[in-house]
Symmetry: C2
Subunit: 760 residues, 2 copies
């Protein structure tokens, strides 16, 4: 399809680029306020213990220390993102009487400088009564295991179930029945900017906090909750943010401490985490143990699946409830599963809590699906692409009452990668026993934001305010948060296209809870382009209605005429010569209004789209690898992707997301891994925790499949997160193709390869 877009689909340079490369971008840690103090957090050094005593006397006496707080000083109000299920909110701003992992927050110091604060930490003496610690899912769920949270039996804080169709029948009638256990590990978000915030208490008692967050609204609401204040007495401002990937979407305890302490002290307080703190104690992707049983008919069609996952949640729930649900959702998606039964369990252990991370349950679930499909293809003697084409989801597919696929280019993606990679030749060639090369496939689907309201907001999922002016400019106000993914650019593009103006004509005020409209649920689940984009279209409809009315009046136009805004003009669609300059139309609309400014609110909440999401992306990725059979070292030579993200609003930004996803998937597949001993994370620097660098990146080729989603803004769907899923299965499949051994756990390291090659 070709659309006559002016701004949509164009490679618009990132609007934050100049500030970033010129060093003008202000991140939270760049903020300096008069009288500002520096905060540090004292963390538990033991994995599980009762706190018997905290002696702050020596630390308090240290010159330059202004305040030390422990849990006892706080209002002791529990919190969590899952406000819909209050009993899931299992954290306190500072430990009350118990610590549950190495790194658990116990106390906070505010001092005149960082060194003093740090020294004060070393002077605080915590007396622990140590408790047995659990690091393993199997141990945690055993009957009689010590409970990490009182009243949580078997340390299983929650379970999720999805069930439709008759799985038992499918299994009974199966031509092929596969069963397997899969084990995936934990990795870090590894965002470039460590968490940082500055809180300032105003003289009227209100608080302003600048913080590195994906979700200013959550921080506002949860800060208010934990401080015992009113929501609107808290102002959260998101400065430039250097990445989040799910790791910055909750209230963080240092945000509470900064706000609470600034209020006590009447001075601003800043907290900035070190990389060591980030890696040792920060949120991470859920490690999971998964069991999958899948049935096929004679011709290779999936007939049923039973999928069970145990999420190692660490010490607190965090975003585990959502990960458990989405893991189950994606375990039964992407392909047609006539029957499906899922049970997910979130399990506490004495490790740093896992949380939301790019993919949000999908990378784990899809590693299982993709690996099992390959095993099935092997058993059937089918090509892995053929079995996928046979089972692939299509437009119109639905899980009745749950979700529906309004647009799907999955099959086209499969055909595209087959063609451009010369898959059929290469797969045959590389499968030969003496080949040290491999080619493999990985596929994905992902949501364009969630249709679930676990935060229990009373507001629209996203809202924008649009103002237009008679100088031809517009002002977009939105709480949507650019954390590096580029929504500040993409949302400007959508507004520019709607109004027929240029992106540079638009002033953007974003992510300031006091001045941008209530609310936006934040940057996660690939929701921003879809939802805020639709909210902009909604607002512009109201704006354009006013401009069109004025045009109609000026021209005394025939009622039948359609009108549009384009190229700085407002005109009759079929008579482009009959029109007004955009700015003149605004001026006249204002005249019509006797001066009132032309302003509109717009919002989007995903109604009538079931329980999961309003739209799904799809894609297929082929990885090509070379294995050094002497050393086991894996070289990923090339990654080829074909994906259906609907209309790419900004292709170059989509490409950036794609490359970042491949980098993250590559790390997940081959090198990233938290090394833990007795609850302690051992690799807490980027020297020890290995993230693929630019030099490690494979050649990358990609194709966007032409799909126009009927509900997406200008046909767009998600493009930022789904692509993190296919890379690990594709690489795993390519490795299996090269070494003729199939791995069911991640990461696949040289060591593992060598060990298993020797078995063959």
């Amino acid at each position: 399809m070709t659309y006559n877009f002016s701004v949509i689909g164009k490679n618009v340079p990132r609007q934050d680029g100049k500030a970033k490369v010129m060093g003008a971008a202000q991140f939270a840690d760049d903020i300096k306020l008069p009288g500002m103090l520096f905060g540090k957090i004292l963390r538990s050094t033991v994995p599980h213990a009762k706190i018997k005593n905290i002696d702050i006397s020596k630390a308090k006496a240290l010159p330059g220390v202004k305040l030390i707080i422990t849990g006892e000083d706080t209002p002791k109000i529990n919190f969590g993102n899952w406000r819909l299920v209050p009993e899931s909110m299992d954290e306190y701003p500072l430990a009350i009487d118990r610590v549950r992992f190495i790194g658990d927050e116990i106390a906070a110091v505010a001092a005149v400088d960082i060194d003093t604060a740090q020294e004060a930490l070393s002077l605080i003496k915590v007396e622990y009564e140590e408790l047995p610690a659990i690091y393993d899912i199997d141990e945690a769920i055993k009957d009689g295991a010590i409970t990490i949270h009182d009243n949580v039996k078997n340390n299983t804080s929650l379970s999720r179930t999805i069930h439709y169709g008759n799985v038992d029948e499918a299994f009974a009638n199966a031509h092929l029945l596969l069963e397997g256990t899969f084990d995936v590990h934990s990795v870090s978000h590894a965002y470039m900017e460590p968490c940082s915030c500055v809180a300032k208490s105003d003289l009227d008692g209100r608080i302003t906090i600048w913080t590195s967050t994906q979700t200013p609204y959550y921080v506002q609401v949860l800060l208010a909750q934990t401080l015992g204040m009113r929501e609107n007495d808290i102002r959260v401002i998101k400065p430039f943010v250097g990445g989040g990937f799910g790791g910055k979407m909750e209230l963080r305890k240092w945000e509470f401490c900064a706000a609470f302490m600034s209020k006590k002290l009447g001075r601003p307080v800043k907290f900035t985490l070190t990389r060591d703190e980030e890696l040792a104690t920060g949120r991470r992707r859920h490690p999971m143990k998964m069991h999958s049983k899948i049935a096929f008919s004679k011709d290779g069609k999936i007939t049923g699946k039973e999928f069970t996952s145990y999420l190692d949640g660490g010490a607190y729930n965090s975003m585990g409830p959502t990960a458990a649900f989405l893991c189950g959702n994606f375990g039964g998606f992407l392909y047609k599963f006539p029957s499906y039964k899922y049970n997910g369990f979130h399990v506490y252990t004495n490790k740093p809590p896992a949380g939301a991370m790019r993919g949000f349950g999908a990378p784990q679930a899809l590693f299982v699906t993709e690996t099992q499909l390959n095993i099935a293809a092997d058993k059937f003697g089918m090509d892995p692409l053929d079995i996928r084409l046979l089972n692939a989801m299509e437009t119109g597919d639905e899980i009745p009452g749950v979700t529906k696929v309004h647009s799907c280019g999955f099959k086209k993606c499969l055909e595209k990668v087959r063609e451009v990679t010369k898959w059929d030749e290469k797969r045959k060639e590389f499968t030969k026993k003496d080949s040290n090369k491999g080619i493999g496939i990985g596929c994905y689907s992902f949501i364009s934001g969630g249709a679930f309201n676990w935060f229990n907001t009373q507001y629209p999922f996203t809202a924008v305010e649009v103002k237009v002016f008679d100088d031809g400019t517009a002002h977009l106000l939105t709480m949507a948060s650019d954390i590096g993914q580029g929504c500040d650019t993409v949302l400007r593009q959508i507004l520019a296209e709607e109004l027929g103006i240029k992106t540079e004509d638009i002033r953007l005020t974003a992510a300031d809870t006091a001045v941008t409209p209530q609310a936006d649920l934040g940057t996660w689940g690939s929701r921003v382009t879809f939802m805020a984009g639709n909210a902009i279209i909604n607002a512009c409809k109201k704006i354009k209605d006013q401009l069109f009315k004025v045009l109609s009046l000026k021209l005394e136009a025939n009622v039948i005429h359609d009108m549009e805004c384009k190229n700085g003009m407002v005109y009759l669609k079929n008579r482009p010569d009959k029109g007004l300059k955009f700015k003149e139309a605004v001026r006249l609309a204002q005249k019509y209004n006797r001066g009132e400014p032309i302003v509109a609110y717009g919002s989007y909440t995903p109604r009538d789209h079931g329980l999961v999401t309003p739209a799904y992306s799809f894609g297929a990725q082929v990885a090509e690898v070379t294995i050094d059979k002497e050393t086991g070292i894996i070289s990923v030579d090339k990654v080829t992707t074909a994906h259906d993200c609907g209309t790419p609003i900004n292709p170059i930004a989509v490409e950036g997301q794609l490359e970042g996803s491949i980098q993250m998937g590559l790390g997940y597949a081959t090198c990233e891994n938290f090394v833990m001993r007795n609850g302690k994370t051992l690799n807490t620097t980027f020297l020890d925790y290995k993230v693929p660098t630019a030099l490690d990146m494979p050649e990358n080729e990609h194709y966007t499949i032409d799909v126009y989603d009927p509900y997406g803004p200008y046909g767009a769907k998600e493009a930022g997160e789904g692509l993190v899923s296919p890379t690990a299965p594709a690489i795993a499949d390519a490795i299996s193709c090269a070494v003729n051994f199939r791995f069911t756990d991640l990461p696949i390291t040289a060591e593992k390869i060598l060990k298993n090659i020797s078995k063959i």
Copy 2:
């Protein structure tokens, strides 16, 4: 009358007080930005000249100097507040080829610090071709006088005429005809905070400027105009402002320079004026020469008046056109003038331009009216209060087609001061020849904002946005500017009363042109309480409509029921038990809206109120003095005021305005005066330019007359500016009572008194 108000009419402490006394208030000069440079202005040292050459070479070479600009570097676009009359816009951001007063802005330097910038100024060599200079009105309007602006004949840049009734007939039939010439001088606004601004050019080319201004909107529009940019690419933020009194309501040339230079340099630039610059070159009150001829009937009633004023405008028009009009307006107001003829002329001289100043033409005009009324009383052998009561305006009086008095407590004010000062006794007593005491009367009326659109804005005169939240708070966004007069407090009171919440429940975002609604014309003409107050009521009507609908639905209420918001509740007016908590009503209204936030815009533009103002304040003031007949020294012992400002929204704030007005009137009457020699202002420090201090203040007694204006917010009218008019005439009358000599020019100094006593 008694009204059942919760917040209105209460002494609410100023919301800016805490920040100011604690030193937390951030004024423009307190703003420090990374990489900020410091600007200084080179000013003309001669009163009138052509610029032959400007040599900046040495200055440019000075280490630390980053940029020097002259008029030639600028886009050379003229500007002025009177956009409705483009030819009146007679200023350029920097002199192009001519200077017209000592202090005229020629060049600007930006350097790494103030000392370097100052040194650079001394290295710039300006070659002048001097022209004859004019310092006097009579000289300026003489035929054949050199013209200060080309094409402005007789240096009379504009005239204003008001004419109604038959003046000639009144004069012909007069029982008493008085004629006199009056001369008033120039005084300074003497605001505590010298002008300051910081401009920052963003990487996208937009500009943000923090500036000490009364009129952020004017600065936005005129900066855009002079820079050749679009209005909405300029963001003006008003920080705390330390007084304005009319002196900060135009685009100032250093604002242009800061913006222009920051754009050129890519670094923020700050300009802060010195007190010397302020007093030597800043705006000031118009000196005027006035001629008045007034006719009375046999019984003492005014039958007609012919009034002519010549305003010494200095080198540019500035706000002269408005001062010329308002002077004429007030020359024919306060009393009933059956016929009236006014001619006002704005005359250029080679002196610093006069501009708007508290009272805006009224202090000058009313000095004439009041003095002439006293002379008439003497002639008639009437008491000055009696002649005033006989002629005083009343509710319902109008000048057909021009203006109408909707509420007037003037007679009550006269009666009140008569009673409480024991006027009748004292006047008799002090008039005796051997008394060195005097008692005198001065009266006033003033506008509650102007109904004229000389700025030619396309927006409402004022607009607000009100948001309410289900935590019981509200957010008020307004471009209205608190410059120390207290509107941030008063507008919160009005909103609190409307919604039945507390002032501390309200977050206020004010005076930021990028986020507060378009537009507000600024803080001048005592317009803010009246106009922004009405805009708030307008917005709240829309908010309350939603809350009432929800209440109606919840109660399934009888259609006849009135409802109100009070004490944190929304309920049936006659059944206060039938209601909801305010925050619960908001929550339900949002539920009804399926999540949409409860937000409303409101605006006010003074339509259907004639050409002048929607409401007039009135008042009478009695001054008591003691004159040392040996030295001529005047002691003002007591000032008693009764005034009709409608409902005082915040009585303690009204009292503050009253005290400040008396202080200013006292200075105007007795000690403040710019001493000029050959166009140069000689008294440019507060040691030489004498402003009354707290120790100089007389005893002060005041009464608010109970008047409820039908159009004012909660019956309020102006309270900030009118009171600056009566003090000088009252003191002058008291002096005449004491020394038996009537002065027709200001200030009345000890020297003048001595000189004139000796004549008697």
